[in-house]
């Protein structure tokens, strides 16, 4: 079976069906693609990474937070190590910035010392307690009230979209099929054994189902009569600042944590921006991604405690993300109800960091419930490198244009993204289908003008490359149409085919 990506029909059968095309589902699919198996990923949205995976802190945690012995503790440290090995080959932007947990008084210094011991128990390498002077030398803009910090050299930052796309693309290159705009409507269980997945695009016979449905993983479990866990969505709001203030902070800055959360961070991103956030608000609606005036004010106040002068005038966007919390630890393992159904659920922080390790452990879990594995001789572990025009020197840029003239047309001027890169992002095995899909892959529209200039142009390129009318181009979700024709308006239509 050749790999594929898109809103096509589902196959009649598959050896393994992974429900959810987030970073966890895609990392699992990629781990499974090492073996001679037909693997199908089902994703509700038109793209991968549209839920929790698209709106989070983008941090590879060192792993000192989790209680020793938990899934979180084990998978975090292992995941951070896997990213260090895999990122380059999969085209995942990653920067080894290190991280600091900033303490402001003696009590917080004690907490920080405790974190160091916990980290050592978890196997986190290189943890050090830094003095006030060491912190200030590393982070000159930090609050002068700093008392010291925990330095974690293995803390890093990553692009969460491209992490997901990197895993997905590699899975597809190794024969995984990802069917998008496909919602699961039921799980057929016969004699306590999973036998099929019913979807809005048809029925797939299978004996192994991986539940990586993120915020909806509780609902998926219940489709098989499994109510062993419940997902509580927790919303976090963020403010992202322009690259022009990228030098504000050099490393990931955490405040000393309290019981509820890791607190409001100030952090660089792999693309050179700075963000602050997230807060943590428990909500009921797993789709409620509204930012709030109170929430934004709260994260500004929180961030100011470690970074007193915030460049609020350079904010380019605000967004909210939802974490799928199910108690204190991840829910990893077989369903207690339906044989063949295995869960990778409740993947809250450090879920992004843990994802590649979750992929590996889920292979073991599936093996434990009876999946037979045979190594695939043709497995290709890497994705071909994609040229990033703005990162190249002038001579290489000139060569790129000589080879493909579309490198000579800059579409997104804020981030210097060329038409060739946008076309490649659309035509790639895990190609963009939406305007936000282009933005997340190559950053056209992710800069200070937020697509004000390139948005209409990216829309036109998507229509051209996908062979669809402009009125069918969407922002991100299935029904997020952007433009209507004059005829639509006259006919009183608001939505079009």
């Amino acid at each position: 079976m050749a790999g594929s990506f898109g809103a096509g029909p589902v196959p009649d059968s598959a050896d393994v069906v992974v429900i959810g095309g987030g970073v966890v589902g895609c990392a699992i699919a990629r781990a499974l693609s090492r073996y001679e198996l037909s693997v199908l990923v089902i994703e509700r949205s038109p793209d991968v990474a549209t839920g929790t995976s698209k709106a989070n802190s983008g941090i590879l945690h060192a792993g000192f937070d989790a209680e020793p012995g938990t899934w979180k503790a084990r998978l975090n440290v292992q995941g951070a190590r896997l990213y260090a090995e895999l990122s380059e080959g999969l085209g995942i932007p990653r920067k080894a910035t290190g991280s600091l947990v900033v303490a402001k008084d003696a009590a917080q210094m004690e907490t920080v010392a405790d974190l160091r011991h916990r980290g050592i128990d978890n196997g986190v390498p290189g943890l050090e307690i830094w003095s006030r002077e060491q912190v200030l030398a590393h982070e000159p803009n930090i609050s002068p009230e700093v008392a010291g910090a925990l330095w974690a050299p293995t803390g890093a930052i990553v692009c969460p979209f491209l992490a997901t796309v990197g895993f997905a693309e590699n899975a597809i290159r190794n024969s995984v099929r990802i069917v998008t705009e496909c919602a699961v409507t039921g799980l057929d269980v016969a004699d306590r054994q999973i036998v099929a997945v019913n979807t809005t695009r048809g029925r797939v016979a299978t004996r192994f189902v991986v539940n990586a449905a993120g915020l909806h993983s509780g609902e998926i479990a219940r489709l098989a009569g499994d109510d062993s866990f419940t997902i509580k969505p927790r919303r976090g709001e963020y403010i992202l600042f322009d690259r022009s203030v990228g030098k504000l902070v050099n490393t990931v800055l955490f405040p000393t944590p309290d019981k509820v959360s890791k607190g409001i961070l100030v952090s660089p991103t792999v693309h050179g921006n700075v963000f602050i956030g997230p807060d943590a608000t428990e909500i009921d609606d797993p789709e409620d991604k509204e930012t709030t005036a109170g929430g934004l004010a709260g994260i500004i106040a929180g961030a100011r405690r470690i970074m007193p002068t915030l460049p609020l005038g350079t904010a380019i966007t605000e967004f909210a993300g939802l974490r799928a919390a199910a108690g204190k630890d991840f829910v990893i393992g077989p369903s207690p109800v339906a044989r063949g159904l295995v869960h990778a659920a409740g993947i809250q922080s450090p879920g992004l960091t843990s994802a590649p390790a979750i992929g590996e452990v889920m292979v073991e879990v599936l093996q434990d419930v009876g999946l037979r594995l045979r190594q695939k001789a043709s497995f290709v572990p890497v994705n071909p490198a994609k040229p990033r025009f703005h990162e190249m020197d002038r001579a290489t840029q000139a060569e790129l244009i000589a080879a493909d003239p579309l490198f000579g047309r800059v579409i997104c001027r804020c981030e210097t993204i060329t038409e060739a890169e946008i076309v490649a992002a659309i035509l790639s095995p895990c190609g963009a289908r939406t305007v936000d899909g282009v933005k997340r892959r190559v950053r056209a529209g992710a800069g200070r003008c937020q697509g004000g200039f390139c948005g209409p142009r990216v829309t036109a390129i998507l229509a051209r490359e996908l062979g669809i009318p402009v009125t069918s181009v969407r922002k991100d979700s299935a029904d997020s149409w952007l433009f209507m024709s004059r005829a639509d308006l006259e006919a009183g239509e608001g939505v079009h085919a």
Partner: protein
């Protein structure tokens, strides 16, 4: 990689770039080049299909493309080179410009003088931190204008406009013409940021309500916009509790300000004016980088294109003189200050005047709306010049021609706008020297 030499290069082929290039050529620059990233000249004018352009410059009322066409024809009639579909990646001090295009690849141009004329961009939702969800259907007014007027697609059928900048007002009328329902314009300030004629011709003539002192506090919708929440604000622009109401819509257009597009300048170490977000220039429109000039909306956001053309011609003539080595070297400039009642002044500094120069133009933006007022020019603490203004609005630029003899050798130069003494019956823009 091609390498070429020019006397004067304008980066941008909109109204400022064309006017600067033409003026440079007329002033004797022999090799003049316009670099434009779009596939035609004209810049933002090409999507401004409404009329109201050119009353001052051509003494007739033109559309945006009509105004652009006049300049395009003038450029065509010269030997000015025009590179379309070409993006400048860097313009380094010394005049080394690196550009790329699909047809010519990478090119390095060595220019004796460079005119920044890249225009401006729109402020975004992120910049004003409007809370809520992030559905499809939220556009800056200019992006929507491009889709409607140039591509022929509509951004929605029930429209709410946030901010009362001119593009938003123009789009209120355009969307009404297209058959959409424009429900309201919400402006957080107690006054509009658009030209009076646009308030009248784009809103009042179509019974579109303008809510002053109202802020959109949330945008709703999961896939597509479904509505906004609006509240009244107090005089500190804080939301007044219990004044919130919801308006349903499927489209939100933002017209909340324009920002000069100065990224090339920033990368080259250009000194910027924090208020205009444009370069600090002298009366020649020369920036802090020798041989680099600035004109149009990249220098400061203008209200009328006629002023852009006029000011860009100054920059173009100066660029030609610099290319010939006739412009005095930078240094020993005097600062010009926007004082009470004013928010911006351009130029922000004065270099030595050339012999025989009679007067020089200053452009201002007011800090707040005022009735009958007096623009005052103080040189070394002495009131040297006054001009009556019938009315003052932040949305409308104030332009004044100050005689060089009034400036003299003074070292502190300050402009103010103060209320007119009541006994004076202020009339429309009577100039009167003190």
């Amino acid at each position: 990689m091609r390498e070429l030499s020019y006397d004067v290069v304008t980066i941008g082929g909109g109204p400022a770039g064309m006017a600067a290039a033409l003026a440079a050529r007329e002033a004797g620059a022999e090799r003049v080049l316009i670099i434009e990233r779009d596939r035609e000249l004209g810049g933002i004018l090409q999507q401004c299909i409404h009329n109201g352009f050119g009353l001052r410059r051509f003494e007739e009322e033109l559309t945006g493309p009509g105004y652009a066409h006049r300049y395009i024809e003038m450029v065509k009639a010269t030997d000015i080179d025009v590179w379309l579909d070409t993006t400048v990646l860097a313009a380094e001090p010394g005049g080394v410009i690196t550009s790329v295009s699909p047809h010519a690849g990478m090119t390095v141009v060595r220019a004796k003088s460079v005119v920044y004329s890249m225009g401006c961009r729109e402020r975004t939702r992120g910049a004003i931190r409007t809370p809520g969800s992030r559905p499809a259907g939220v556009f800056t007014a200019g992006a929507a204008q491009r889709m409607v007027n140039m591509e022929g697609y509509l951004p929605g059928k029930e429209v709410v406009i946030v901010g009362s900048g001119d593009i938003g007002l123009i789009m209120a009328r355009r969307m009404t013409f297209e058959g959409a329902k424009v429900k309201a314009v919400f402006e957080i300030m107690p006054y509009s940021n658009g030209l009076t004629r646009n308030i009248v011709q784009c809103l009042e003539d179509f019974d579109i309500p303008l809510y002053l002192g109202h802020s959109v506090t949330a945008i709703h919708g999961k896939d597509r916009v479904t509505g906004v929440t609006v509240s009244k604000v107090n005089d500190r622009l804080e939301v007044i509790e219990d004044t919130a109401f919801d308006v349903s819509c499927d489209c939100v257009l933002l017209s909340v300000g324009l920002i000069p597009e100065n990224e090339l300048g920033r990368a080259a170490g250009l000194a910027l004016d924090p208020i205009t977000s444009g370069a600090r220039v002298d009366q020649f429109r020369q920036t802090s980088i020798p041989g680099f000039f600035a004109a149009g909306n990249v220098l400061h956001v203008h209200d009328l294109v006629d002023w852009v053309s006029e000011e860009a011609a100054i920059a173009g003539r100066s660029a030609a003189r610099h290319a010939r080595g006739e412009l005095p070297a930078l240094g020993s400039e005097r600062s010009v200050t926007a004082g009470e009642g004013l928010r911006t002044v351009v130029p922000q500094r004065l270099s030595a005047f050339e012999p025989g120069k009679m007067s020089t133009h200053f452009y201002f933006r007011a800090a707040k709306p005022m009735g009958a007022s007096v623009l005052q020019f103080w040189a070394d603490g002495v009131l040297a010049f006054e001009r009556k203004l019938r009315v003052v609005k932040p949305s409308e630029m104030i332009v004044a021609d100050i005689p060089v003899r009034k400036i003299g050798d003074a070292s502190t130069l300050e402009f103010l706008v103060v209320p007119a003494p009541e006994k004076i019956e202020a009339e429309d823009e009577i100039e009167e020297e003190a």
